[in-house]
Symmetry: C3
Subunit: 346 residues, 3 copies
């Protein structure tokens, strides 16, 4: 699957990454440069000077404009060349593609397609800006196709194997697994009663040795997976326990590399900085040293990015990932047919 | 020559490399995982989980079984899936290929082909387990086609150039070279009378300044080269001198990378550990820093792995290597014809 | 443009690089080995042994001959095999290609084509051996097509952007740009009056705050760009100022990598060694950290080495580079037609 769904909102960066210094980032195999204008709003432009092709992100920002670092060609925040060396004819060719962006929920969302963007379609991540929570924003680059990351987030049965030393006590998958699809997306859930408390709940469910535990994943096309997970003393209501809300944002860099962002909202327990630092580090170990290591080995073991060509066996726990892959393939096909002006076959 | 002879025994590892922790190794461009069962016998399985393709060598051993490190799929030592999540239909597809292996002479021998293996065909390396000798087992990975390593071992005229600082005094090739082929394999021999003593004989032929020197190489298809080499005081019988028996095991990893193992049996002189350590280090310098550096430069200078396409000039000393290449090409062709059900042209 | 002009003189090395130890260097995608014979003259031979293809530069020099480091094959300074193992028939195939070379102006010039070389065509760089000057010779390898380096040297408008911190005060391009072509080559010139003094002139035009500044570039096909640059107190004659003569030598290694040599003649001011060292270091920063970084980013941003396929917009300052590209393309086409025995279309 080397094609991407282009007419959709992707997370391009966390808000804190974008400043008055240009940031170059490849998204869906296109080079994009981001910067803030003097009013603080974010601009996203094609990161390639039409004169000598170098990334504009090697240049600098001057007010609301970006200036190429090679010969100083100057573009405004809409990508229009405003250089005195360009005459009117040149100026038309010298236009940089301008990408619609929206800053919301602590993230920069980008629309890579040619169709008119609808900001109402940006997935709701309101919990990431809830002042009643403690937030954690982090990210990495994974050398694997983005769908492998989404598969991973929709099949949490890997917790008992990949994350045994970090965020699982090994009996997460003793429970009940369900998967279904509705208008909100593809869902997979785990509910496990009376299991050994996993390490991340120990500080919050003091004295408990066994807990009821859950994790609910929801994928929204193309690249968001919410995970609501928690634990509670056995037979107590979920609300009495400890739980976190996670937004995993998966954005293709190329066919075989993926920008992977995670935003995590935890209960605000007034924890000291070292606890926050430890929580961040434990997730980095889980999502980078453990998950990404496995996904990158998986990608290297594949002949290409064509998952089905590898003839995988399909287990019941793959139900969510298979639904997501089918849904996305259908959306991409529909988008390509729209681009060709063809009616989508029902 | 990107094809391999598959119905043959190759050295996959030294015995000491295989334990209850899985070892992944690519052989003839196939991923294989090795481990010992609880009774100490060695298992070799396809190193790829049929579910998500990751190497099983990233997982762990549980008794006689191997458990995938990603989602915990479980296989017995024959490669049969014994996971509760696999129903009968899935189980047939989830079977890992199981490779015949035999542990003998301190090495793990593997049979990569589909024909029935015959253990009588494992080359005799009894000298590697002779308690009357001092043994040295070592190995490296060479970034060159495996036939370049075999060429190297069958044309020892390189000793006076490549190994001048380590295991040659520069007059090894002043002597007589012979090459021939018989049922035992392809042979090349050097016999040089009255030459300067090379450094490795000095501690054993104390006081000698000049020696008679010999080295006899025998290649057995596809990947074993025995070398019997030694020196003796001039005009004395070989038996009165110092000599070593070497088994060089050359196993393709890919078309352009090679597992190279060497087992060396020296006279047991009750030498102290530092002498053994020095002998090991000197051979590492000769076989890695000197030989492999040259073979890797040779591979980089070639357009592909097709040796003859480079139009080499052929010297008399190439006689052994040329015979080995022709013999192996014939064996590979015959094997491919058998696989196609075609009679081998006589 | 993956083709090269072959019947032309290229700088292969600075004189000081060639000694009695062999130097291997890839030029126009051919491996070449250089060494000095006992009389001090330089030999350039094909850097590939016809026996086993390894670079002869891994071997050693014995008198006027070169000896392969693998099996000791021996060649004289004309590339003729003089090994006792080669019979007459072998010897013809075992001949190494011998390249015409000329040592002049502190450089080794090589002729890579099959046509008869004419030493009168070696570009005049007499200023590089003028005892009245202080000389600086240096070089690097740039991971970009060689024409990108020549473009760079013919469009010095990049000084105000790429070199703002090293050799420009930012107003170099406020002046007048001209470009034209004549029998001497392609010329581009800048003349800027009354501008802020750039850092490299400060020690020489003591007390001056503003200067008149110039830089005159001349490209000679295929790979030489002379740059005569300097500054003088405002409205004073050029001769009263500070000026340097530069010879930039651009030689393809492969289609996407380039040997870049620079020889710089400055007025001999009897400067102490630390000043010379600083001048060398400042140019390394400008030509490597600044220029090469940009050219390599440019190459990575291109799909191939086909510049025009990227559909660049062309600014007035590109006039010199465009002329050079057209001229070189014409010369290459003519050379290829001569090789085919076809008359060049006028």
């Amino acid at each position: 699957m080397d094609a991407y769904l282009r007419n959709a909102w992707y997370v391009a960066a966390w808000s804190g990454e974008i400043s008055h210094t240009p940031l170059g980032r490849r998204l869906l195999d296109e080079p994009v440069v981001f910067y803030r204008r003097s009013d603080g709003t974010v601009t996203a432009l094609q990161d390639r000077c039409p004169h000598r092709f170098v990334p504009l992100s090697l240049g600098k920002i001057d007010g609301d404009n970006i200036v190429c670092g090679y010969h100083g060609l100057r573009f405004d925040g809409n990508g229009t060349c405003i250089d005195h060396r360009c005459n009117d004819m040149l100026r038309a060719d010298a236009k940089l593609r301008h990408y619609p962006v929206e800053e919301r929920y602590g993230a920069i969302w980008i629309w890579m397609g040619q169709e008119t963007p609808n900001k109402d379609l940006i997935p709701d991540c309101g919990f990431l800006v809830d002042p009643a929570r403690t937030m954690l924003f982090d990210q990495t680059l994974v050398k694997a196709n983005y769908m492998l990351e989404i598969d991973n987030l929709l099949d949490l049965s890997h917790l008992d194997y990949v994350h045994l030393s970090t965020i699982s006590a090994g009996s997460f998958t003793d429970g009940v697994f369900k998967t279904w699809q509705d208008d909100a997306g593809v869902h997979t859930t785990w509910w496990t009663e009376d299991c050994v408390i996993p390490p991340q709940f120990v500080p919050y469910l003091v004295g408990a040795e066994r807990v009821d535990q859950w994790a609910d994943s929801t994928w929204k096309a193309p690249g968001i997976v919410y995970i609501h997970s928690g634990g509670t003393r056995c037979k107590q209501p979920r609300e009495s326990g400890y739980w976190i809300e996670q937004c995993h944002c998966v954005t293709p860099e190329t066919a075989t590399t993926t920008h992977y962002f995670w935003g995590i909202a935890r209960p605000n327990m007034g924890e000291p900085p070292e606890v926050s630092a430890f929580a961040r580090q434990r997730l980095r170990q889980a999502f980078i040293s453990e998950d990404a290591t496995m996904l990158e080995a998986q990608q290297r073991a594949m002949k290409s990015t064509d998952f089905w060509a590898e003839r995988p066996i399909v287990l019941p726990e793959d139900g969510g990932a298979v639904r997501a892959r089918r849904t996305l393939a259908k959306l991409i096909r529909a988008e390509q047919e729209r681009a060709l002006g063809v009616a989508v076959a029902s």
